[in-house]
């Protein structure tokens, strides 16, 4: 992972913080908390309480801060009781965590579990990723989600979850992508086709409205718009920027957010490693604030907008023409 893409991620996280987006509470925190407290109790109730109290006292932390941040907990434990005891305790925690993770639908295989190189961080990442993918699969209609990614495999995983066959069977699905992905969705449109169709001779100010209209009509079977749940995704919206269509993209995002249809769910992907500092500074505030949920990869985390801070209001019902 390059330093530049890491820097872009941090900038996006700063924007999320500035706009008041909060990290959606994950079950992983609860699982980790329970695993640590159950493991420590096995050593002895009095010893475990004293150890927790001392770790918190010696390092100025609360129990929640300590137990829900695994890296911090590991470092504090090593500093408090030494490497030998810390290794014993962490092995117990790993066993507890594995059992909780499997019960919570982790995708770890038997081979993974018996692999001694499997670390607690790996288990937590796996469980957390599964939780986010489950969220994306089960996301309700009328949601506009932004996915900021650096890793192409994360994007592929998320798109597979978004267009999960079990959830989208018989429902229209539409993907705007750079390369053909016909196996994944019922309607696959390439960026090159889209820009070719709309850019030649079209008034660029009208482009986004026409595009939105075109997408919703193309992706929905005639006469059944209101009855089916349609999922539309865009693989990498930075393709718009390469074509010099940044204003059009912003307008499209804002209009999508404002006029999203009751049975539509839209996912917008952005490969942030392709964004320049200027693009992030000028655009990302507006792009992010047009979405109710933002998902960031490595590790996969979900951020939700506070209801009163969404800049555009969603209006259910018919598309309004300007």
């Amino acid at each position: 992972m390059s330093n530049n893409s890491l820097k872009q991620t941090f900038r996006c996280l700063s924007i999320l913080d500035k706009l008041g987006y909060f990290s959606v509470a994950s079950n992983v925190d609860k699982i980790l908390y329970k695993s640590i407290s159950d493991s420590l109790e096995q050593i002895g109730k009095s010893f475990s309480k004293a150890l927790i109290h001392n770790m918190c006292s010696l390092h100025g932390l609360s129990e929640y801060e300590l137990f829900t941040n695994y890296d911090l907990f590991e470092k504090t434990l090593n500093n408090t009781v030494g490497e030998g005891a810390a290794t014993r305790i962490l092995n117990k925690i790993k066993k507890e965590l594995l059992s909780h993770a499997i019960l919570n639908g982790s995708s770890l295989t038997t081979r993974d579990i018996i692999n001694p190189e499997l670390t607690i961080s790996d288990i937590l990442k796996n469980t957390s990723d599964k939780e986010v993918l489950r969220f994306v699969t089960d996301i309700p209609t009328h949601e506009h989600i932004l996915f900021l990614y650096r890793n192409e495999s994360s994007k592929d995983e998320l798109l597979s979850a978004f267009f999960d066959q079990a959830k989208t069977a018989n429902a229209p699905t539409c993907l705007l992508s750079a390369k053909p992905r016909d196996g994944l969705v019922s309607n696959n449109i390439l960026y090159d086709e889209l820009f070719e169709e709309f850019s030649s001779g079209a008034d660029r100010a009208e482009l986004s409205i026409k595009l939105y209209d075109w997408l919703s009509k193309s992706c929905l079977p005639n006469g059944s718009r209101k009855k089916t749940t349609t999922r539309i995704a865009e693989e990498d919206a930075t393709c718009w920027l390469k074509k010099g269509l940044s204003n059009e993209l912003i307008m499209l995002e804002q209009k999508t957010s404002k006029y999203i249809d009751g049975n539509l769910t839209i996912l917008c992907g952005f490969n942030i490693s392709k964004l320049t500092d200027e693009e992030i500074n000028t655009m990302m505030d507006t792009i992010i604030s047009s979405h109710g949920y933002v998902i960031i990869d490595e590790p996969l985390r979900i951020y939700a907008a506070e209801p009163d801070k969404i800049e555009v209001q969603k209006i259910k019902g018919k598309i309004q023409e300007e």
Binding site: E41, Q42, I43, G44, K45, S46, F47, S48, K49, A50, L51, I52, H53, N54, C56, S57, L58, H59, G60, L61, S62, E63, Y64, N78, N79, T80, V81, G82, E83, G84, A85, A86, T87, R88
Partner: protein, 277 residues
């Protein structure tokens, strides 16, 4: 506890220093008491026979406090009750030995009731040692195993050879004494190996476990005991001092454990109330 507490990063360092100083001072005071209390050798041995059980009793008292407050659940509960039982058995052995040494007109009998309590105490200490070693120690490197086991093996061989030359094996008592001497040596070596492996265990030591007090106590006592069979009567005082030092260090370790690894809900609540007034 959900609330934040103030950092106390210097408390273990200060307590470590204070305990070291107190242990050294107590050992020096005990040694001086023994050496300067009487001009006669016999008198000094008798003083040693009083101070030694007292130091064992002090360690036992603190261990009972730990067991009472910690209760018996979990690995530490079981380990520390075992330690308390071991100390109790050794205290009984110390008292019996002292009684036989200066409480009766006879010479110390060859096979004493005290030996049975000492031997029983070893099993409790070894259980404690293994439990704590498996928890706190890292897997020993081959180098460490060789460094420790070769001298121990050589010492055992030397001891057996020395014992064989000392005993005539003409009576059953001789055979029993020979066996007993070697059993003590083996048990002492087990404690020495456990303690040494933990003390030189690789890896970073924690802020609360930088000094393995109780294992250092095992080392001191086992070394003193190992030398007991080969010292002249005039040198027995030095083994007394090692035993006393060992019990003092064990008491320091138990105090340390009581301070940092036994949870005192009332004290913590009182402190929190004081900070949040």
């Amino acid at each position: 506890m959900a609330t934040k507490v103030q950092p106390l990063s210097t408390k273990p360092t200060i307590l470590n220093r204070n305990l070291i100083l107190l242990s050294i001072a107590s050992t020096i005071v005990a040694s001086c008491t023994i050496f300067f209390s009487s001009t006669e050798e016999e008198g000094r041995i008798y003083i040693g026979d009083i101070i030694e059980p007292l130091s064992a009793a002090s360690a036992l008292c603190i261990s009972l406090i730990v067991v009472y407050r910690q209760k018996l659940d979990g690995l530490f509960g079981r380990a520390y009750i075992s330690l308390a039982v071991g100390l109790g058995l050794w205290l009984i052995a110390e008292v019996l030995w002292s009684f036989f040494e200066f409480g009766s007109d006879h010479e110390t009998p060859s096979l004493l009731l005290a030996d049975s309590f000492w031997l029983a105490g070893y099993s409790a200490f070894i259980y404690f040692g293994f439990s704590m070693y498996t928890f706190f120690g890292k897997r020993p490197s081959k180098r460490n195993i060789i460094i420790i086991s070769i001298p121990c093996a050589l010492f055992l061989a030397y001891t057996i050879q020395l014992n064989m030359s000392e005993f005539e094996f003409s009576t059953q008592e001789d055979i029993l004494l020979f066996s007993l001497s070697n059993v003590y040596t083996v048990l002492d070596l087990i404690l020495i190996i456990l303690a040494a492996l933990l003390i030189i265990s690789p890896g970073k030591k924690g802020q609360l476990t930088s000094i393995p007090w109780i294992f250092i106590a095992f080392l001191i006592i086992a070394i003193g005991d190992s030398g007991l069979g080969y010292t002249q009567s005039t040198e027995i005082l030095y083994t007394h001092i090692l035993y006393i030092c060992g019990y003092i260090v064990m008491a320091a370790g138990l105090f340390w454990h009581n301070q940092f690894f036994v949870f005192d809900e009332k004290r913590v609540l009182k402190r929190w109330q004081g900070e949040n007034r």
